[in-house]
Symmetry: C2
Subunit: 341 residues, 2 copies
């Protein structure tokens, strides 16, 4: 595989930092690495493979000679800069919601729809973290029983709102323990020792927030089935970096607990944790830093065995964002070098 | 209303302490108060209405002359002592799971089935906290549309496992912030900055835990409808004392968001918090210390308007336990004094 000229857009964020780590850890074939961020970070240095790299300001002309852009600087920056990267000839794996629902842009979870990568026209979108964490364990069941509908309640970590939000959880916890009033800067409500409805924009007409709409629309696009019904309730909880989800899934065909267990145990990207005897199931502290989505707490409705309950936890920064993007880039790079180059 | 000779069984626990506060706050008609606990607390003193009361060891002969026992010392102690209290002529409001499902024992949420109080034969059971917090806001909707099924995921506070569990959350949070390994004594898993499947006994055959079974069985008993289906997933979260629940409810008749809002706004024991514009909905820190169950985040499935989603938060120690018990006792005392005495 030919080494590539890679740019990370948004290198100073929580996902940007994880992208750096993953490229190093997974020995991604890199000829040169460009670290792009906002003007205020330009000039400071990051380390990659032991070498210092100076952060440059991300601008429209930053992408000359770049083969691959891993972009996670936020939706408005993606909207502005990604077209320039594409024009300069780069493939962009975009981690924001900017292009996800555009018909021309593949929305990919490598364990589910890697074949969609080929249809790209310069941009491949990385799904929302809650969608990825829900769909990776549902896909092996979808393959054998066909998913019809999901009712899901999330337990989402602070990391979904970035590195500053994780720090806010830490600082607020300290303040509460010291008997002080917690300082709110990132989240609209206290996050330490509390929980609240997800802080994304709320559709006043339907009562569903953006995070929930993403789970609905992205599921249909990734599974190529606009008839799948998703009814999500997204909630922030005082956890640092892994999202958990309580999933009720209705399939076309009945399933048994054993079938579900076998399907999850053999599924790519999933680690089965389903120990009833010891009441040991997926937990966010154990999902943190892991590549796999932990899945378990399997229960099948005894009256209607096409209904299955699961509890899952996945690292929001890793598989929910950076890892999924790097996996997409890896498949693209293999395909590109074998087919086109 | 004739002042009563009252005993609190389990006075040193989190619920026992709350019972004391509530009897004082609500000016419950008390002639004498007996404070009962285990032998190791006997001899120490508590304060009630400014007066010191010496804690006595709870024994089979502790109930002579007692009119009312508020019992929350745990299931095995209730099983042992409650029959003696009944034999001594007292009415027992029992806050444990010991007698809840016995056909002779009314299981009462005063906002829902106060009429069941009359059927008592010496014991009235207080439902499980998660059941109460779920049913108080569902009842006004049940009255107008008839509940058929609930899929519910809980966000349960440490207080459900008692005062020691709340302290464990606090201590672990401190340890994690100091970079130390958190000390586990009450909960099987780390609770600070983590969450896990509810730590009640797990039925290895079905995969449902005791907490979940209670929500299923108690709902049917309180609503007098064995056909209601409840599919719960119960989860502990790092919150001190209020439980939250993400509820999907299916009714026989369709409902609109406005109908649900009106029904909740006018319902006894419920405070409607449903501000889509400001993304402001029920939160456990705001439910703590309150008598009402906060209910909101109302959404109706646009394709099947008999399906309604809610998010609720309720003080687990207060309405989830002590307040509900005192409310039962108040109704019983009024009825007893007007009808029998």
């Amino acid at each position: 595989m030919k080494p590539l000229n890679v740019a990370i857009l948004g290198v100073t964020g929580a996902v940007g930092q994880e992208l750096l780590e993953l490229l190093e850890e997974r020995r991604f074939p890199i000829a040169s690495l460009k670290a792009l961020a906002s003007a205020k970070s330009a000039g400071s240095k990051i380390k990659f493979r032991g070498q210092p790299i100076t952060i440059e300001e991300a601008r429209e002309d930053s992408f000359e000679g770049i083969d691959l852009v891993l972009s996670s600087a936020g939706g408005s920056i993606s909207k502005k800069l990604v077209p320039h990267a594409v024009k300069a000839g780069a493939l962009v794996v975009d981690n924001t919601s900017a292009f996800r629902m555009e018909p021309d842009v593949p929305l990919v979870v490598p364990e589910i729809n890697p074949e969609d990568i080929r249809r790209h026209k310069g941009v491949i979108a990385n799904p929302n973290c809650s969608t990825i964490i829900m769909l990776v364990p549902l896909f092996p069941l979808h393959k054998i029983a066909r998913l019809k509908r999901v009712i899901v309640s999330t337990y989402q970590s602070a990391s979904g709102a970035g590195a500053k939000a994780m720090l806010e959880l830490e600082n607020q916890a300290r303040e509460v323990l010291e008997g002080k009033e917690p300082t709110k800067q990132v989240f609209p409500h206290q996050i330490a020792f509390n929980l609240f409805s997800h802080n994304s924009e709320m559709d006043e007409a339907t009562g569903f927030c953006d995070e929930e709409k993403k789970m609905v629309q992205e599921t249909r696009k990734i599974f190529h089935d606009p008839s799948i019904e998703v009814l999500p309730t997204t909630v922030r909880v005082p956890v640092y970096r892994a999202h958990s989800e309580s999933i009720y899934a209705e399939f076309e065909k009945p399933l048994s607990v054993d079938e579900v267990r076998r399907a999850l145990a053999g599924a790519e990207g999933v680690k089965l944790i389903d120990d009833r005897k010891n009441n040991y199931f997926p937990m966010p502290i154990e999902a943190s830093g892991k590549d796999e989505i932990l899945a378990g707490r399997i229960r099948v409705n005894d009256k209607r065995p096409q209904e299955v309950c699961l509890f899952v936890s996945g690292d929001q920064i890793r598989k929910g964002a950076a890892l999924n993007a790097v996996q997409i880039a890896e498949i693209w790079a293999r395909t590109a070098s074998s087919v086109n180059v």
